[in-house]
Amino acid sequence: MTLLLSLNIIPLIYSVWLAFHNWTIATRLSPPFVGVENFVKLFQDSRFGNSLLNTLVFMATAVSVEFLFGLAIALALTKRSIRGTRVFRTAVTIPMMIAPIVVGYTFRLLFHPSAGPINHFLSSVGMGWVNWIGSSKVALFSVCIADIWEWTPFMALILWSGIYSQPLDIHEAAMVDGASSWKLFRYVTLPLLTPIIMVCWMLRIVDAFRTFDIVYILTGGGPGFSSEVVSLYTYKTAFSFFKMGYAAAMSFILLIIAIIVVSQFFSKFIKQR
């Protein structure tokens, strides 16, 4: 426990200290105290704002598509007349166990402009050619696609187990009362599923906020800064430009955002019990 706490708290204090100092390669022995200058610079830094915005777009797109897809798969899995669902369920779990870095490389190959099978497929059905990674308009969405590929199974599996654990007699009662399958879904399955949906969303949103590997491998934040998410920018500031103080200030802002999100989640999580 002490080890755990010390490895948690000491870095935190140290990083707060850093945030108020100007730590660079040149000043690393005795970084001068600069007060809130790092934070002031941060609010004027358009690259930081841009990376926050990218993170937000990425989060919203990826998580909502994952949710819709996952829900569809979960519903397909619970249909009683369908056979082979066990095999299917096992099969769909594979993507999320694969290392994100592997997913990154796989999609880099798939998205390859001239030799990638996706473009080949698209052009052979006459939809033309997309520059998945090289175009600043599409790059962020390519990252989303890779993330969706990896994490849709997660949504599907959790939603499936949620639907599966719902009491059957409620469904039967609704059927006896003549509810159509849409109404059954809208007024029975969905409301009962809401707490689980909340858990899914929160877990994925928090994860999406942390996403680093896929972006780093797939686009490296480029072209330009068009797909740079906030964790990548912080990483670059700290470990490529070695502006530790500035990066610490950045991570301080991230920390505050994360605390707000997590405490929301935590209160819900506790209430559930």
Partner: protein, 279 residues
Amino acid sequence: MKAKFRNSRKVGDCLVYLFIIVVLLMFFFPIFWMMSTAIKPESEYLASPPIYLPQKPTSSAFSEVYKNLLFPALSNSIIVSGLSTVLAVVVGSLAAYGFVRLNFRGRKHIMFWIFSTRMFPPVIAAIPLFLLFNRANLIDTHLGLILIYTVFNLPFVVILMYSFFQTLPKELEESAWIEGCSYLGSFFRISLPLTFPGIVASTLFSFIFAWNEFFFALIFTRTRAGTLPLAIAGLHATWGVAWGQIAALTIIITLPVITLCFVLQKQLVRGMTFGALKG
């Protein structure tokens, strides 16, 4: 009327099957593509139009990887993920047990603190840790990476085991105490065996996390303690993009994890939701 109903149901079923098949194709195509790239000769990696099934399959990529890269990286990966998993599971389950059974002040706050470390972007911790480790000469050592992975796995283990210990009736242990068992004795003889599925799930997930982790490995290791994910990225940097070798390493990384998951299917769902759901 009845026949019509049955027909529309059949059409619905067919649509669902179709949907399942499409989904499976979408999920498996990328995996298939990596596998086929791994056995392609160099001229076929980036051929245009793409070659779906390799014309002249070779195993040269695998032998290259075996010769040059596998050994330091694979053994590093095994050492680091193995040890950090064991540490995290042992310490984490003891801590979780304490949280459930002992009622001390500030319990909720410490729980929140532990929980939150799992949720924060790792960048936040990386910067100060890097400077501290630099000073303590822990950069590029197994010990450094093991410490980090243990700390980052602990919250997960604690939360998961917490949910398992909570389902355990206290009376069971009380009766063990009456029979003359010590605190720790009842933990090891009664509680631990009964929550074995939880131990399995937390071991599985801690291991997968450490095995797949890239970000900390990128920052905290150089050449001596680099793990497998780092070896892949290294291939990218040094000789352009050696796709065959990347694909081969990819398969080497992925295989053990997928095998584990097939064997331990049942524990998956519960682990993924921090035990919020019963899988």
